[in-house]
């Protein structure tokens, strides 16, 4: 056999074709007693139902965390998790934090310097001294 083939898997490109929301689980922790959970408690009572309806692809869990500050914890498909402490915040601020966790990709935050990231090779190829657009490439 003359041509052999190399086996490798394909790479996923989330959003090309199907889009999978990267946040898969949000946990809301509250305390019944502490004052810092006041906003969280009213958020859970009045806002969370609607938030869950709007984001059906996120599994939502609520659990008490007595004598501690309220926390929202997001679990992501890449296996990482992000937590935000929402002590003393009101409903609207907590909603903003929940949306922030929902929209995050789960990756570590990093500075994006180039506007485009691509899996494809450059169309122009690697620069070569022999080929110039005007035909005056290097001759030896």
């Amino acid at each position: 056999m003359v041509i052999r083939a190399i086996r490798k898997p394909t790479t996923g490109q989330n959003g090309v074709g199907a889009f999978i929301l990267q946040c898969k689980r949000l946990e809301f922790h509250y305390c019944d007693w502490a004052g810092s959970s006041k906003g969280m408690n009213s958020f859970i009572k009045s806002r969370l139902g609607n938030f869950a309806r709007l984001n059906p692809s996120i599994e939502i869990a609520i659990s008490p965390r007595p004598s501690k500050h309220p926390v929202i914890r997001g679990h992501y498909i890449n296996g990482r998790e992000k937590s935000i402490c929402v002590r003393n915040l009101d409903e609207n601020q907590i909603l903003k934090k929940a949306e922030l966790l929902r929209d995050a990709s789960g990756e570590k935050l990093k500075v994006v310097k180039k506007p485009v990231k691509s899996l494809n090779e450059s169309v122009r190829g690697i620069w070569s001294p022999f080929h110039k657009p005007d035909g005056t490439g290097m001759t030896v």
């Binding site: 999978i20 498909i77 001294p129």
Partner: protein, 411 residues
Amino acid sequence: MKRLRPERWGGQLLTAPRRTTSRGASRCLRQQQCLARSLPRAFSSSATHFTAASKHEEIEYEDGEIETIEEDVKSPSKSPTPAFIPPHPNKTSSKLGALHARLRLPPLLPQETLARTLIDPSANSKSDCNNATLAQLGGSIIAFHVSEWLLVTYPRLPMTVLFAASYAYSGPKTLQLIGKEWGVETAAAPGNEVDPGFLQFKKLAPGTELAGGGPTDRHAATRRDKAYFRRGVSSRVVYDDEFGDIIPKKDNRNASVPTEEAYASFVKAVVGAIQLHAGREEAKAFVKDHILSRHLAINSLFQFQEPVRELSRLCAREGFEHPIARILSETGRLSRHPVFVVGIFSGKDKLGEGSGASLLEARTRAAVATLKSWYLYSPGQDARVPSDMEDETKKHEKWEPVHIDMGEVIH
């Protein structure tokens, strides 16, 4: 390309009595083998819904051995049985609902079926509770859509590369990646108390030796098993699985399965479930969105042994003038880092170009570039595939046959 026979595999989900014509003769060998592999595990405990047509099914292997499968012949159940027995009728799971929404599965697909796709036969051997049949159906659908897309989009791919490309799109490794990217996690051990949103299968004990992938070519197969003779690459279409791998003769029926296999059968089963509940078009769109949309640089799958010789054979076959390599430019011939740019010409046409640190290297690279540009001819990424004609809206359009190539150069 495989012929689809959904009615055969979706037996439990379809209540209508199944046709019992003589099918043994018309069944393609690969399907027989697939069924033979999946049957003992899937249908070992209860075969009440599965009605086999013939008592014996004979499978002829490539090396001439014939294996007879004895199937349990049972009469179709007389009382109307429910179309589907959900694995956990009283359980609801937020994980499962979230997965359903995350994949944007059609609402026609109930969560019970989704729960069933998450149960591997190693976790539950009852055939109407595990995903064996759905995975069989879904695997065929995936293989069909991937292969028709590859054949239409890259009609000149050599067979080995075609097999590697279909492995890249729908092989178990890729399906495992897809399953993980869907956010599906595995349960530590299968059981009734497990949340139905987890993938359940019996895990391999640590230290278990894996069988490893089958040999991918004839030489490897001969090395591994001296007595085993394989015919040419083309015979793999008939005898081997969709990736050109040998189908193992005996299923080792070990209850535990590798994680990769469990994820792969889950992803296949989801496609099968969509096909059964929502229809062909939905399943096709799902395969396109989740499997064919992934990125693969097909040009990186080639590995040429003798590109220069192959190129000259190709030109002779196609009636081109004999290819000649000419130096286009060079620099630093006597230095430590010389660079030569070599072009391959057939008459006045430049077929390809490559650069390298020596004249031979540059010529080889140029020949490889030329061969790749030949084999990777494509009518476009949106070329019409045969299954497009099954669409009701396109039925009236005239079918334009796809390009069928002579095939690779054999020398």
